[in-house]
Symmetry: C2
Subunit: 253 residues, 2 copies
DNA sequence: TGGGGTTCAGTGACGTTGTCACCAAACATC
DNA sequence: GATGTTTGGTGACAACGTCACTGAACCCCA
């Protein structure tokens, strides 16, 4: 957590039952050469901002923290700020009329919720919603500041459009996967991804179903098949990958 | 077609076997009040550009025409220009490794291929490709001009981000449809859309399958069911909607 | 004008995925 | 330990995807 001096103003918040603490961003006096170190250095795309822009951005943005499971934006809750994540992850997902859900993409630390800027500068409502998966710390850039930065800095424009590019590519991949990939491959892929090198994955079958936009029963059946082959072991809420190799192989095919 | 004076320079082109005719954009001397009429007025989002920006845009952009079935951009063929469509439509679709295809969205006259700007300013390759469905006339805005316009004009920024918003919303809808909607509903919807008020749809079963990201046989079976119910009549390459009402009802459910 | 190639559509069998109704085990709470 | 909730298991069936194959409609050109 960055050091904060003085009183911490509390604002009303994203969802009525959550408190969003907003801190005015404060420069930390750690010099690196002739430059001040700040959160900006956590974003490679922003590191080359000229000094004036850099200062403007630092002065006009705030650092916010939200608790886990906060709905950051969603239908009827269009975001007022562009968020750059410092810690935590945001899950962006969509819910259908019938109640089924699918995860579209995740925003990790060092990335931006840039797709929201589209509706931030335009007026359309998102049908998707963004949820903080863990306690999340982020830089909030107000609409007007974002607009000015896009106007004034070619580096910032590059940053924004590069982020767009990545997200849109992600969406294309999601479409390709749900339309064309077989479920066993997608599930193997997701297990490897969620394990992130570790041996166990903490997730219920229902959660995995939402990740892949399918039904719980389908996940249960497929995991039983993996178990029957001796690749995984299951217990309530967790899956142990005891033979990752064939899973990896399946995920790549 | 806009009047063009002098010689028409021919450039090398988008695909080696197609010629892309590029015309320097020429102001048409039709005054409307104290303002010059031009293609800009076909784009509501651009109509409020200030005079200087307007002139810059007119001078620095070109009007291009491409024949039907031209691949405008695709894997390994990143676009050098932002295209604003004056006539025709561009189909953006994606092909999987296994050869199956799906239509992601269409760009119509009066709209822009704005998602390409993401990779235009960034460096990533699109896995999707854009194909002119009919002979297509468009305004081409070079990368550098696009960047300058985004920098200089808040109206242009609004235009760009609004277009982004629409496209991304489209993508979300595509994801929701493939993941959650039943095929009969999607097919009914697509038939109504392609008919556009007319009685007949000219499309092979294969084309419809690509529209919905499914297999031809599935379309054939479903159309047979519609036919059995007396809603449509089929002949090679065309479908007659003889009872649109129940199709519309199905599409809305 | 009629052969020959190509495109388009129809069919049946089968595997995979989605849906529904229901049950049982594991866990949380008091 | 009784109770309610969450999580996972099961079987039947419907919907969709895949494959191999067939025949009809169309095009072209000698």
């Amino acid at each position: 957590m960055l050091p904060v001096f003085g009183n911490i103003p509390k604002y009303s918040c994203i969802r009525d039952n959550f408190l969003l603490h907003q801190f005015r961003c404060i420069l930390i006096s750690v010099s690196k050469g002739d430059r001040v170190l700040s959160w900006i250095d956590q974003f490679p795309g922003l590191s080359r901002l000229p000094e004036g822009i850099r200062t403007y951005l630092l002065n006009e943005s705030k650092i916010v923290t939200v608790p886990a499971n906060t709905v950051i934006f969603g239908p009827g809750k269009s975001p007022e700020n562009l968020l750059l994540l410092l810690d935590g992850t945001v899950r962006v997902q969509q819910t259908s009329d019938t109640g089924r859900e699918i995860v579209l993409y995740r925003v990790h630390a060092g990335e931006s919720c840039v797709l929201t800027t589209a509706c931030l500068l335009a007026y359309e409502d998102y049908s998707a919603e963004g949820i903080a998966e863990t306690e999340t710390r982020a830089v909030a850039i107000p609409r007007a500041v974002f607009d000015k930065l896009v106007s004034d800095s070619i580096e910032f424009r590059q940053f924004v459009f590069t982020a767009y590019s990545k997200r849109i590519t992600d969406l294309f991949m999601v479409i390709e996967e749900i339309a064309f990939q077989k479920l066993d491959i997608r599930l193997a892929h997701k297990l490897i991804e969620l394990a992130a090198g570790a041996e166990t994955v903490s997730a219920t079958h229902q959660k995995l179903a939402v990740e892949l936009g399918t039904a719980r029963e389908v996940i249960s059946r497929q995991l039983q098949e993996f178990q029957r082959r001796g690749w995984i072991e299951q217990s309530r809420g967790t899956i142990r990958l005891i033979e990752p190799a064939p899973l990896v192989k399946l995920a790549q095919s």
